[in-house]
Symmetry: D2
Subunit: 380 residues, 4 copies
Amino acid sequence: MKINYGLAGLGTIAKTHLLGLRNLPLLNVPVDFSINLKALYSTHPMENVETAKSCGFAEIVDTMEKLVSLEDLDVVDICTPNFLHCQQTLLAAQAGKHIYCEKPLANNSEQTKLMVEEVQKSNVVNQVAFVMRFNPAVASAHAAIKQGVIGRPYAFRGELLHSSYLMPEKAMTWRLQKNKSGGGALADLGIHLIDLVRFLLGEIHSVSCLTDTIVKQRKNSEGIFQQVDVDDWASLSLQVQGDVKGTIEASRLAVGNDANRMWIYGDKGSLFIDLDHNPYSPIFYDEKGQRIYPDSRFLANDPFYKRIVKLYPNSKLSQGFMVDTHLTSLLWFLSSVADGKILDHTPTFEEGHRAQLVLEAAYQSSSQNGSFVAVNPNQP
Amino acid sequence: MKINYGLAGLGTIAKTHLLGLRNLPLLNVPVDFSINLKALYSTHPMENVETAKSCGFAEIVDTMEKLVSLEDLDVVDICTPNFLHCQQTLLAAQAGKHIYCEKPLANNSEQTKLMVEEVQKSNVVNQVAFVMRFNPAVASAHAAIKQGVIGRPYAFRGELLHSSYLMPEKAMTWRLQKNKSGGGALADLGIHLIDLVRFLLGEIHSVSCLTDTIVKQRKNSEGIFQQVDVDDWASLSLQVQGDVKGTIEASRLAVGNDANRMWIYGDKGSLFIDLDHNPYSPIFYDEKGQRIYPDSRFLANDPFYKRIVKLYPNSKLSQGFMVDTHLTSLLWFLSSVADGKILDHTPTFEEGHRAQLVLEAAYQSSSQNGSFVAVNPNQP
Amino acid sequence: MKINYGLAGLGTIAKTHLLGLRNLPLLNVPVDFSINLKALYSTHPMENVETAKSCGFAEIVDTMEKLVSLEDLDVVDICTPNFLHCQQTLLAAQAGKHIYCEKPLANNSEQTKLMVEEVQKSNVVNQVAFVMRFNPAVASAHAAIKQGVIGRPYAFRGELLHSSYLMPEKAMTWRLQKNKSGGGALADLGIHLIDLVRFLLGEIHSVSCLTDTIVKQRKNSEGIFQQVDVDDWASLSLQVQGDVKGTIEASRLAVGNDANRMWIYGDKGSLFIDLDHNPYSPIFYDEKGQRIYPDSRFLANDPFYKRIVKLYPNSKLSQGFMVDTHLTSLLWFLSSVADGKILDHTPTFEEGHRAQLVLEAAYQSSSQNGSFVAVNPNQP
Amino acid sequence: MKINYGLAGLGTIAKTHLLGLRNLPLLNVPVDFSINLKALYSTHPMENVETAKSCGFAEIVDTMEKLVSLEDLDVVDICTPNFLHCQQTLLAAQAGKHIYCEKPLANNSEQTKLMVEEVQKSNVVNQVAFVMRFNPAVASAHAAIKQGVIGRPYAFRGELLHSSYLMPEKAMTWRLQKNKSGGGALADLGIHLIDLVRFLLGEIHSVSCLTDTIVKQRKNSEGIFQQVDVDDWASLSLQVQGDVKGTIEASRLAVGNDANRMWIYGDKGSLFIDLDHNPYSPIFYDEKGQRIYPDSRFLANDPFYKRIVKLYPNSKLSQGFMVDTHLTSLLWFLSSVADGKILDHTPTFEEGHRAQLVLEAAYQSSSQNGSFVAVNPNQP
């Protein structure tokens, strides 16, 4: 099966998608579809036409409407700024296109709710780019927890820490404007941790959140200072179903401590996911603190793990954690498209919406001086 | 000046004190006093008489009353279980002895308040064993923060994680009984982090706390199961004066992740204290994430830092982090005794009381499902 | 300028080349040429035709002769087993094609000498895939050493340690047969360290070498045991011009210690290249052991460094160390082709030949119980 | 049994001995002797009399003759500069005292041979301070290798790297004068690695050695420059019985890379001893590179391991690696004294002599441009 692929946007994350997708023929990944780069939607078509052509896109269009109206286009991959996700999704869904959308799903839960309703109504395959799920380390943790390798999980600590924004010279971007991004470090980075907690441990019941904005204004491209109105640091306490508790921290200012990791503690052992250093496996410890190695054949009883290890590029043909993980996430989505039904454990837009509800509860908590706020999945 | 020293208790922590104190003559530490091991109070004098003698104690007594009634005894070092600290302090203070007391200062803030009142009334030198202050890494962080090396601190993360209690075979001890210990991982380990936050960053205004008890019963020395009624895991969110926010975590179950560390983030850089690996200095980072090395001569403008680096044993004569740090804390106390006044930055019983108020606010928060509880320094 | 590219072989390393080359349009790398995938030579054309087509190759051929006879083909990238490099080079050079050849350059120095003579006679651009040179960490070390950042280098230690061959189940391959590979761990991995020493420190004068073969036979694809007649572990002492001395170690059996690193010690400081963990920069230390950060603008006085940091993909668009580094090496070669002359610091076939002379001196030493053997650049 | 102990010297290493010995009563170590600090020999008795007294020494003497003539003195612990070891040993042995001597045993093998002959003639217990043997990590490696945990060892890499001497301000000391020290980094640090190789892997047959002296002169205490005539860096290739090969490196200049570690590779796995970070256990890996944990009860079939884990201070009462390890080595010696016979695996003066023969072969190799030199245990 050949899937005709349309891409919206050609920023860094769109390129990351392409770096993997374009090399699919080389990776010996067992999928029963091929990808045809059908069309690129760019707001700067003149500037990008050469790149689009070199990459193999058959055409380039200058509106989303034109993209989704392409007859034989099967899927749309939305890599535009967050505030555009909702309207673009509505357009694509109404045109019957399957949709892959970068995270966070949208600017707020009204938007995400609309999006969920629309993709369900249009009956299109939909997936949000909660890509952290799609590497063997997380898949292995997922399987191992279910199989009791560390006993009952009771606590966790997650950190997604970047650091480049502490330099005041760093320029203003849409990511630092609430109306365009929906939030700061928490919405951009923390959303991954929120999804991991939900995926690995269960539904989040309530959240306490503290945030801060340290660099309060930055120069835009014209050299004029503009206000930053999003968080660049956030710390959350989470209460999760099954009496699991823990904290997550997201930062864009953590100089010296860049990290993408999560500790999960259980009553029979613990596990440590350190994606910056090992996307292939968590480290598991038993009650005595000795390392244990769950048998991968045993883990493979878990269908999610089993499929991920097949899809994830072999380490000898790795294109690095970011490309490999984004690619696997995209291949998961395309597998759903090829199969004609959404695979189990897909982070659908519904999942994106639920994560958004946690995010909003967190921001509400932050505005209430950190008091715990219940996450109501029936909201808004 | 010769200081006649009395020790209450001969458990592990008392021995740790002695390992350092007895070797003072070898360490070339510039103090103007010597220490005379005058008397040991032990509830098992017959069992311990030989050790006491070999260590150089002039006598061994079997009640605290006898210890404090020794005429020429100058100081009492209280290394008994927590629930005994208060009454022993009252006895010692009323006898006019200077008092060094292991942490936490007592079982609850009523006791710690009594103790503060008594030592102030009796006008004796008093210090609680918040020993983490007393190593060059923490002293350097203290000086560097005041001197603006990392700019204004705005966030932190502290971890004091042990792991040996996850094994269910581990026996019952007084540490696991609330009425004897005053609390679990948080009271025993977290109290150090509470003190570090207060010492390095400022007064804690409010606290949200989640705790858990995983191993709920253990066999006592007679093989009978007893209930554990203290936390073996605790996670706190803290709001600190000057708009500083952060989390600390204390655990006795963190298999694979034993740690004694603190990250502090400022608007010009960050610092990382990792006491298990380097008690001599934090690691400092600038805005770009590059390591910087504050000049120790510059840091030495800070009187606390200056004195600590003199008192702390030279690395060539180190007895390890625990002994070195406890010894320096004790030498600090004895310097106050020798000087006839309490040195600045001493963790006095007042400091122990204030940390206890944070601890109690935390436990109150934990019982209120994690809601933030204000720490009222005028309580109880 | 469009460069018509021909590839010989489609094994893992050929795919690694393609993973980078095919994504060139996305990487914003400032080169003044584009790459046209003209033809693939494969001994299994039927099996690979689909992949070749999907990758964008215009044609697939089944002999090297056919490849090099393609009129408008500009360059040939040789990714075949080592024992084929020589004859394929001769064919390509005689056809006037520019040649990029995987390492080691050939099976022995008679072959490498022939190859050097032929490319010089044919006046084609030639480069051997000593790719370790082509990352910012090594380029930075190269510039910093020349600029005296660590003073005069006097000693080094290099390690290229793999581990997967300790498992006896691992199958027989041409890499384990001397007549096809020219050597084992030393020829395959150690050759990179030999090149790094030569590139960073200077010509190697003499070498002492010890080797061992631990797994002495393996099953081939038909399940029949065959002898392994190459080293899977090698340790070398090297004496380098300018009175620099050090050791390198190459292994395929170093379970628990996979590494790709080099320490260089100078009389004013040291530097540590750890390519598995940071291909962007070495770590530099001064006389006191404190980290220093040479100013990249200062380093950029070094033309090699300056060009490498331009060619090397931005970390946001990284495809991982292997792909990024191979790609940069290939872009270096193609830049020479586009410029019409070989760039300075290119690892030409002459460099490949000189490294081969060191390799052979090492194997000779190993056969003489480790005695030092002089490396004669006028040999063979 | 009470052992009357005499100490020669009161430098840093002597103090390290005392830091442990004086605290023996607190450590719950199961020995059937006590230690009486009988006498200290110091060349500066006036300066040290106060310290000696405070430490509990009954007397202080100003010549070695006086020390060894003390009637009831049982043992002499020699902590003086290397060039004095021989004559002091002869005096002590002739007086019938048991002797513990710091490493290296003496300045050259003529001296060490004399010392061996004398202690054998006098029939006194004798041990050289090859203290690295005396920690659980090395003892565990020793037992595990014998029990086949990593299969047959075939290769190793040892590093003992210090760094403080790169600063030119560092003053001249006897350690930098060949006639007083017998050698530089190799004699002072490398000797430990030589002993570990011999202890863990077997007799060294031949050695190739390269050395260098980087800081060639230093100011003495009067501010006058003096020549350094010893190595501050040394790298050795060793060929060991049973076809084991490897390298060791000793340095006083390795800024950024202080280390005390050894990798040992076997045909079924590997082990890594990292004494700076874990003196309690090596890390063991199996064929697949996964960590394995030999059962300590199984290891305890090894009598050396069994005794070491009993003697080595409990981690809760640790005085740090240096003190704990020196203490255990001393307790081993004193156990031999108490038992009236030298325990198996003791590094006797004979062992010290054999290590000295390796050292001299290494220096001979260094003077012969690194050619392999056979180690002849019948020399000199």
